[in-house]
Symmetry: C3
Subunit: 146 residues, 3 copies
């Protein structure tokens, strides 16, 4: 009887150890995990957009494996239009370093912008607003507004 | 003896299965869960406020069950004042679709605004700033600034 | 045999209880835990910066134990420069109440600002942009842009 209690206790201890180890692993992962950041570009001010590009460069310097998604919509759609942007070179360079730029298809439609009008390498999403929410809520991205 | 080890092992396996299943359920829930978004309206620019209303409509189109809370405070309090807002119809329509608009009681007091001055259906919170933090920290809402 | 099944079942029940209790503790902690907020000051408008100071005061009134980190970088660096800020007294008072103000070393270098130029008590971080992301992603801080 006592030996059975001992075995049951051992089982519980084993589970406890397993749980605490999985906890440690989670902590380690958190310390080591790449930065994940949603950059919200929904404003037309090109100076401020340029500041955003610099902010992203700094994040990549600190963590070359950072996951950066730049959502361009509403008033900020101009930043990814080839004919209007002041930041084509910076965008191309950041895309080369793994940053993902996406334009909002709603905003594009409303403004008669086609995929051919975008800086090469820029993707699209059905809704920029939804993407801003989804990346935070589902993928654990931090929010950053330049 | 060996059969006792077997039983203890079985107990551990059972727990392992239970844990991994609960993990799967969490993943499923995350995939299916409604969008939750805190819209931060703390600026007076009515054009930009109108852009925010459009953003919210897009989120509701993507997910009619989305939980949207719009916190209006500081310079953005005008958006929910009946006599000053440019967006009464949009607000009423969004409230009908389940969006929650709340005005900051601190800001109201400072500006001599009463509940009767608010667009019908708009609620209040003691502090808009605190609500912005609480919704993110306690309820897992994404942050969105139009 | 049946008693062994009973013991194994008991082990599972014990683990279940332990798990559900740790769940309850997490819930309780969440209800009681201090507010944690990252205030993003990356704009030069001193009126709006002052609004941010008031927002922080309101958060501390609601929760005197709130953890508040104010990241000052890019165009917002002026708020913590002794010679340029309009808010030295407010900053000193908030620091006394436990708020942490940090200036971005990248921005400081670019603008020839040294630690001696900062309002006393203001700290620094290597990169303001990275700090904004890390506090949200690693420490569970809410985002707040005045």
């Amino acid at each position: 009887m006592t030996s059975r209690i001992a075995w049951a206790a051992l089982a519980l201890i084993g589970v406890g150890v397993a749980l605490s180890q999985s906890g440690s692993r989670a902590d380690d992962r958190e310390q080591e995990e790449s930065l994940r950041v949603l950059v919200h570009l929904n404003f037309a001010d090109t100076g401020r957009q340029g500041q955003g590009m610099k902010n992203i460069s700094r994040i990549l310097e600190a963590d070359p494996g950072a996951q950066v998604v730049v959502v361009c919509h509403s008033g900020g759609i101009n930043v990814v239009e080839s004919s209007r942007t002041d930041h084509a070179d910076a965008i191309t360079s950041l895309i080369d370093r793994g940053v993902r730029f996406v334009a909002c298809e709603n905003t594009m439609r409303r403004n008669g912008i086609t995929r051919d009008d975008l800086v090469p390498g820029v993707g699209t999403v059905p809704s920029g607003a939804v993407e801003v929410v989804r990346r935070q809520q589902y993928d654990g991205f931090a929010y950053f507004r330049p």
